[in-house]
């Protein structure tokens, strides 16, 4: 069983991520029994069969739109967003839109090229689960969540900008202050 980071802790995880091989088609690929995170295309092609499963997950590629899941959001135990390369930042906006615009409140997992130094930003836009490269020491990766203790701007994790949360100092030396 793989280890992932979930809710700021390292935990064992029994979900598998289905990735289509080259010759496989979304409409007839066999989705194994158990806890499977399927590609969006597979969900769309096999929705009728999959939606009755007790537990099902779906993942979005970085060029897919979260709005495609509108109306289905409640059916998933987990939604994952794939990072084909860590430098592909579309997943951050996908996550933000899933959380802030589509109201998704279940597990949101970052998969693919997920590295320690991206974790702080990823958690801010709404990810609460991270499946890093298996070749990385997960005990190191988790440290990325606590790189910073303060932030300036709003995102999904922090609804108020710093200037609305705390009393910040004005310039005491300024005339008229």
């Amino acid at each position: 069983m793989d280890m992932i980071i979930k809710n700021k802790a390292i935990v064992a995880d029994d979900w598998t991520v289905l990735r289509l091989q080259e010759q496989e088609k979304p409409e007839n690929v066999i989705v194994a029994a158990g806890k499977v995170i399927v590609p969006l295309q597979v969900w769309q092609a096999q929705r009728a069969a999959l939606q009755d499963r007790k537990e099902i997950g779906v993942w979005l590629a970085s060029d897919e739109r979260p709005e495609e899941l509108k109306g289905d959001i409640e059916k998933f135990s987990v939604i994952a967003v794939d990072f084909p390369k860590f430098s592909d930042g579309r997943g951050y906006s996908i996550a933000f839109n899933l959380r802030a615009r589509l109201g998704y409140s279940g597990e949101l997992r970052a998969i693919g090229d997920v590295l320690r130094d991206q974790l702080f930003y990823l958690q801010r836009v709404g990810f609460d689960a991270f499946a890093p490269h298996p070749d990385r020491k997960i005990e190191d990766v988790i440290k990325g969540l606590s790189d910073f203790s303060e932030v300036y701007q709003t995102s999904f994790d922090q609804k108020l900008p710093l200037f609305r949360r705390v009393q910040r100092k004005a310039n005491e030396a300024a005339p008229g202050q």
Partner: protein
């Protein structure tokens, strides 16, 4: 100027700690170079020809004397005794060691500075008007908003891995001195008919391979909404900007592909959800930040000092300097002084550690302890008493900072070029020197009058050659020799335009003669008081082109001797450029 509170300091200190650990992991091999690359870039660290180059952010170009002294210290301790001020109002050090960089950033943090987001595909350092707060034509002081945007964009979690870099400029005067039309987002702080502050928002401008003048996306975004509006622009760009080709990844390509109307529709659909939400700016926060940009305690002074006129009559050098390098200030009795980093023979934008310490002292004694760095790579003392101008001029002349050429042909904007940069096809700085030496005669220079000359070593346009009245670009050729394209007709400011190439490219030594020929046509064709750019716009490119290519170029005597060629022996580390 803005001073950090405990929150700002904590964020920067934590960044230094994070970066120190990233360098440790890189040196131990835990991080591959490929993984380390975006991390170091977001701290402004590039790997260049000679080693590591660090770009330090000077937010909107404003810097204290103390911070300038820190640059001098860094130049001495970690570099070779000098630094290079850039067209984005930052400073770069070219000769650093990777293992020193965490200490350098710690030193910088001790004076409230950093290298955050000075590179990488993120929101870069925000640039502004170098005369903000003191310009006579100012409508709104852009500095508080520039600082608010700096904080908003610092470590924005959603926009750290954009398709490409993202540059925001903000101006507040009637005349745009921040080149807002050449930025991914350009903001002009304005007032509406009711006197309320807001921003005219321009999007999709940029230089590089595909130079485009920005388009207006909204004529007036009230100040309360500027952060959320910018956020929506970035979110649309982050999702839909091209990522398959880095040369088509800037927002300008997206805006052009969608059309400004469709782009605006998408932005405003996203923004509808944020408008009036908690990200909306508050009057309290604007007032708080603005309290750092209130006027210094100006004295009540007469606007014309009789001594100045006497001295002007006596000294032609002083008189030249006064008319070229001193700009009108909105407060009577005060003046804005531009210290030229463009002495012919020197590298444009370079300053030695001694000069840095010296200008810091000048700032302390003459200008309330503050300096500005201009996007034209000069330094500014913004609040000088007119009665101090004579002594300031005398002192600064001793440090060779008073070349009276601001806005003239030898006030050349130049990127570092192929001696430093791995992207460049050709050298920029030696060419700038060669041109400046040719036009050193002040009578001739003043006869030519206002003109801008920009040099980029390659198509990426760090020297902003597309918006120079004359633009020079190093081009890639199969034989790996240095060739330069020359273009004319570019301009920045309210009447921005993109220059057009005049024809086939030239060798290094031909370029000064080409410029001479362009100037000949201008002097022949101009109306009285007509600037170079106005003449180009009136008569078109053809007369210039015809004259430049009409006669062959005589090989310069020193061409064979290689007088201006930078020889490898000048460097202690092996001199190497993949392009040569």
């Amino acid at each position: 100027m803005y001073r950090y509170d405990e929150y700002d300091q904590q964020i920067v200190d934590e960044r230094v700690r994070q970066y120190r650990d990233q360098v440790r992991r890189r040196l131990s091999g835990e991080l591959t170079e490929q993984e380390f690359l975006p991390l170091r870039l977001q701290n402004g660290l590039y790997m260049q020809i000679h080693g590591y180059m660090l770009r330090i952010a000077v937010p909107y170009g404003l810097i204290s004397a103390q911070q300038m002294r820190m640059f001098a210290h860094l130049a001495r301790k970690y570099d070779r005794g000098y630094g290079h001020f850039t067209t984005r109002q930052n400073i770069q050090f070219n000769w650093l060691k990777l293992q020193d960089t965490p200490d350098i950033l710690a030193d910088l943090a001790s004076v409230q500075m950093h290298g955050i987001q000075t590179s990488g595909n993120c929101v870069r350092n925000i640039t502004s008007d170098e005369f903000a707060g003191v310009a006579q034509d100012e409508v709104v002081d852009p500095r508080p908003y520039a600082e608010i945007l700096r904080q908003w964009s610092t470590f924005h979690p959603e926009f750290a891995y954009l398709p490409r870099k993202f540059k925001i400029a903000i101006s507040g005067g009637k005349e745009d001195r921040a080149a807002i039309y050449a930025h991914d987002i350009g903001l002009a702080a304005i007032k509406n008919a009711q006197g309320e502050v807001g921003f005219r928002v321009v999007v999709g401008g940029g230089l590089g391979r595909t130079p485009i003048i920005g388009s207006e996306i909204c004529e007036f975004v009230p100040w309360q909404h500027i952060l959320t509006y910018v956020e929506s622009i970035l979110r649309i760009y982050n999702q839909y900007g091209r990522r398959d080709n880095k040369y088509k990844a800037r927002i300008k390509i997206l805006v052009k592909a969608l059309g400004i109307d469709e782009f605006k529709r998408q932005v405003e659909a996203d923004w509808a959800d944020l408008k009036d939400g908690p990200g909306t700016l508050t009057g309290e926060e604007v007032d708080r930040v603005a309290s750092f940009f209130t006027d210094p305690v100006y004295e009540t002074l007469p606007d014309h000092d009789s001594k100045l006129n006497e001295f002007k009559a006596d000294s032609r050098s002083f008189s030249n300097w006064l008319s070229r390098n001193v700009k009108p200030h909105r407060v009577p009795g005060y003046a804005i002084v531009v210290l030229s980093l463009k002495k012919p023979g020197d590298a444009p934008g370079d300053a030695t550690a001694e000069q840095m310490d010296f200008v810091a002292d000048l700032a302390d004694r003459y200008s309330f302890g503050e300096l500005r760095i201009t996007h034209k790579q000069n330094l500014v003392l913004a609040d000088v008493r007119q009665k101090d101008l004579i002594s300031l001029w005398q002192e600064a002349s001793a440090q060779e900072l008073t070349t009276p050429n601001i806005g003239m042909l030898t006030d050349i904007i130049s990127c570092p070029g192929a001696e430093f940069c791995t992207l460049a096809n050709a050298r920029s700085i030696p060419l700038a020197k060669l041109i400046a030496e040719r036009f050193e005669n002040l009578d001739y220079l003043y006869d030519i009058g206002e003109i801008t000359l920009n040099i980029s070593g390659c198509v990426n346009a760090c020297g902003q050659h597309h918006i120079g009245n004359i633009g020079i670009t190093g081009v890639e050729k199969k034989d790996h020799d240095e060739w330069y394209q020359v273009s004319i007709g570019g301009a920045e400011g309210n009447d921005s335009s993109i220059s057009k190439i005049i024809g086939p490219s030239f060798t290094f030594h031909q370029v000064p003669e080409v410029i001479e020929r362009l100037i000949h046509v201008y002097l022949r064709e101009r109306f009285e008081d007509e600037s170079f750019i106005s003449t180009v716009r009136r008569i078109g490119h053809t007369p210039f082109k015809e004259h430049v290519y009409a006669t062959d170029f005589v090989a310069q005597e020193d061409e064979a001797a290689g007088k201006h060629v930078v020889l490898p022996a000048q460097y202690e580390v092996p001199y190497y450029s993949p392009r040569f």
